[in-house]
Symmetry: C2
């Protein structure tokens, strides 16, 4: 049997990883919130702040990766502990990507807010972001509580996000057809909407990882992630 202080140091290492993930999660959430606020209010200063904040997540991911690999090498974790450590590597990769997507929204603020876009378009992206953010928050809460029975909401939210993204996609295309001056800003808004939709996908990935950490099983009915806008054709939008 290992001496007590070693077991406890090991435990501390696992807790350190979980704490770092929780703090990355909070940081990613904030970046998404601020990127959307910057976009909706055409606030280029806030957008620049989001871009500047991104390296913190990159750094955290590198730190978590190194720590996780070092825990595996030194402690040879088994079963649940091993899933915990591998899960930390996966979740930190998803959180880092969420930060990248928020940064990309922030970088488009200038180009997307040029001209007079109708308020409804920004409201649409804001509503989409609210859904994606509440998905992310609930997933991070489950990471803290480990109550995986609460992960049932994920499917419904995914469907809501897909439906709202598809409707926003159509709305943006229609608006571009009305006036060529809308084309460039609306294209940037399309990419912003797509980024928000992908943030939802990464939140779902995290939910699946947490489920696997806690139960050792794959989450039932994993559904294909990704948007449904590939079926939106001109003939659906243009007047006959």
């Amino acid at each position: 049997m290992q001496p007590m202080h070693t077991v406890s140091a090991y435990d501390d290492e696992l807790k350190y990883l979980a704490r770092r993930i929780a703090s990355m999660g909070g940081h990613a959430e904030r970046m998404v919130e601020q990127a959307i606020t910057a976009l909706v209010s055409a606030d280029t200063r806030l957008a620049q702040k989001v871009v500047r904040d991104d390296p913190i997540l990159d750094e955290s991911q590198r730190d978590i990766d190194e720590k996780a690999v070092s825990v595996i090498a030194r402690r040879q974790p088994m079963a649940r502990d091993l899933r915990e450590v591998i899960g930390a590597i996966r979740i930190s990769a998803d959180l880092e990507r969420i930060g990248d997507l928020a940064k990309n929204v922030a970088k488009r603020v200038v180009a997307a807010t040029e001209g007079q876009q109708p308020v409804s378009l920004f409201r649409g992206i804001e509503a989409l972001a609210d859904l994606a953010l509440s998905q992310l928050k609930e997933v991070l809460d489950v990471y803290a509580s480990r109550e995986v029975t609460k992960l049932g909401f994920i499917r419904d939210h995914d469907d809501d996000i897909d439906a709202m993204y598809t409707s926003l996609f159509r709305e943006l295309l229609t608006y571009m057809m009305e006036d060529p001056r809308n084309i460039t800003p609306c294209t940037h808004l399309l990419f912003c909407a797509k980024n928000v939709e992908r943030i939802g996908d990464h939140a779902t990935n995290i939910a699946e990882t947490i489920y696997h950490i806690v139960t050792g099983e794959q989450m039932a009915n994993e559904r294909p992630k990704g948007d449904k806008t590939d079926r939106v054709t001109a003939s659906l939008l243009l007047p006959k």
Copy 2:
């Protein structure tokens, strides 16, 4: 000392992972090639084949993940072997994403080829895909040969892909402004071009992972991945 047959079985397990990655890589390459061919030649049958082929990569990724975690748990690999196993998890995730991106291009074939798009737009996407594909092929060759000194090409190719993507982005916007009937198909082409650009990013990720497996170091001068089109504003495109 462990009996010889155990060491050899362990070695076989590492080789199995490397073989699976190589075969995933070949499959991902083929999916990208066929998705682009389907797009350029408006071949919906080939597009459907690409969509049908995607689950093979999902399945391979799951298999590699399970095998890798089981190797870690049973063999407690150290140093280079541990990097090899963790690297297999990372590379298979990148290859699975490349397959998803190819599938997404394939799913847009119908919507993107509606109407009469100028040949030059498709040539542009084809040229972008050629760059991304040669990037992917060279990276997979280095995975097989382990000659990481050959990874220097990565930076230059990244710059070429970024420049070509930005020019295609502008060209598509200009074309949308000329005729509202171009807007929907060109929007789908924009997303296709973006997907191809991201395939290049994933190839770069794989290069970084290979470098880390072989050397234990991070690749020097890691550069931010991602597109530069956020700076393309309407005022750059519209006549004064």
